[in-house]
C-alpha cells in the first residue's frame, strides 16, 4: 500500500488538496472585499466591489482572482457558485443614495454570510481529504 502511494509523484499525492486550498484563499479574499463594502456604507461615492472566481486553466488564473464591481441588482454569478465569471464588470446604476454611495447593507451582509458558510464547508472538506491521506500514509491505521 505504501509503495503504491509512494509511486505517485508528490504533486499527485496532494492534487486533491490544491483546488480546495485555492477555494479557501478565494473565500478569504472575498471576505476582505465584502467587509470593505460594509465598512464603506457611509462613504460618499463608494461603489460596492466583489470578487469573481477565475476560470479554471485560463490565463486569468495566473493573475489570480479578478475584481468585479457589482450593482444593486441581484447577486453576481460568482456568488451563486458558478465558477467562471472571468473579467465581468457590472457597474452600479440603480440604488444610489444622495451621497453617491451604492452600498446596500442587507445585500452585502447576505453575501458575507454565504461566503463564510462556503469557507467553512471547504475547510471541512480539506480537513477530511488530509485525514484520508494520513490514513493511507499510515498504512491503514489511524494517524
Amino acid at each position: 500500500m505504501a509503495r503504491g502511494v509512494l509511486l505517485m509523484r508528490p504533486v499527485d499525492l496532494f492534487s486533491g488538496v490544491a483546488p480546495l486550498h485555492a477555494a479557501l484563499d478565494y473565500h478569504l479574499e472575498r471576505h476582505n472585499v465584502l467587509s470593505s463594502n460594509i465598512a464603506h456604507v457611509d462613504t460618499p461615492g463608494y461603489r460596492p466591489k466583489d470578487l469573481a472566481r477565475v476560470e479554471e486553466g485560463s490565463f486569468d488564473r495566473v493573475l489570480g482572482v479578478t475584481i468585479e464591481r457589482t450593482s444593486a441588482a441581484h447577486l453576481a454569478g460568482g456568488e451563486a457558485g458558478t465558477p467562471e465569471v472571468g473579467r465581468a464588470f457590472t457597474d452600479a446604476t440603480a440604488g444610489g443614495g444622495a451621497d453617491g454611495n451604492y452600498v446596500s447593507l442587507e445585500r452585502e451582509a447576505g453575501k458575507l454570510a454565504t461566503n463564510q458558510i462556503r469557507y467553512d464547508i471547504v475547510s471541512v472538506l480539506v480537513s477530511s481529504e488530509l485525514r484520508g491521506l494520513l490514513w493511507a500514509a499510515n498504512d491503514g491505521k489511524a494517524g
Partner: protein
C-alpha cells in the same frame, strides 16, 4: 496488511551482516550490492530509491511547514489555513516515510526467512 510478493532483483539494500556478500546472486542479473556499507544503492524504482525520495520529500515538507508555522507565530503572515495545510502535509509525508521503512523491514525479513 499482508506483505506482497517481493522482487529480489529490486532489493538493493546493504545488509549489516552482509549474508549475501559474495554469494550467488539472488536472481538473474541481481544488482544486489551487499558489500557496500555506506548505504543503499539507489536503483530507480527500487525500495531504496523510493525510500530516499520519501525522506527527501518529508524533509522538504518539514522545512516548509516549520517556516510557515514560524511566520504565523511571529505575525509575519495572516495565512492560517495555508499554514495548517502545510503542517498536515508534512505530517503525512513523515508518516509515509515510517510506512515505507516498515515495508522495507518486512521485505527484508521475508527474504531472510526465504534464504534459510
Amino acid at each position: 496488511m499482508a506483505v506482497g510478493p517481493v522482487d529480489p532483483t529490486a532489493i538493493s539494500l546493504a545488509q549489516p551482516h552482509a549474508p549475501f556478500d559474495g554469494a550467488a546472486p539472488l536472481g538473474p542479473g541481481a544488482p544486489f550490492d551487499g558489500a557496500s556499507p555506506l548505504g543503499p544503492k539507489a536503483e530507480p524504482g527500487g525500495f531504496a530509491s523510493l525510500f530516499a525520495e520519501a525522506v527527501g520529500r518529508a524533509n522538504a515538507a518539514e522545512h516548509v511547514a516549520g517556516a510557515a508555522a514560524q511566520d504565523l507565530a511571529a505575525g509575519r503572515t495572516d495565512d492560517i489555513h495555508g499554514t495548517m495545510i502545510d503542517a498536515q502535509k508534512a505530517n503525512i509525508e513523515l508518516k509515509l516515510v515510517g510506512s515505507v521503512r516498515n515495508k522495507i523491514v518486512d521485505a527484508f525479513y521475508e527474504l531472510w526467512r526465504m534464504s534459510v
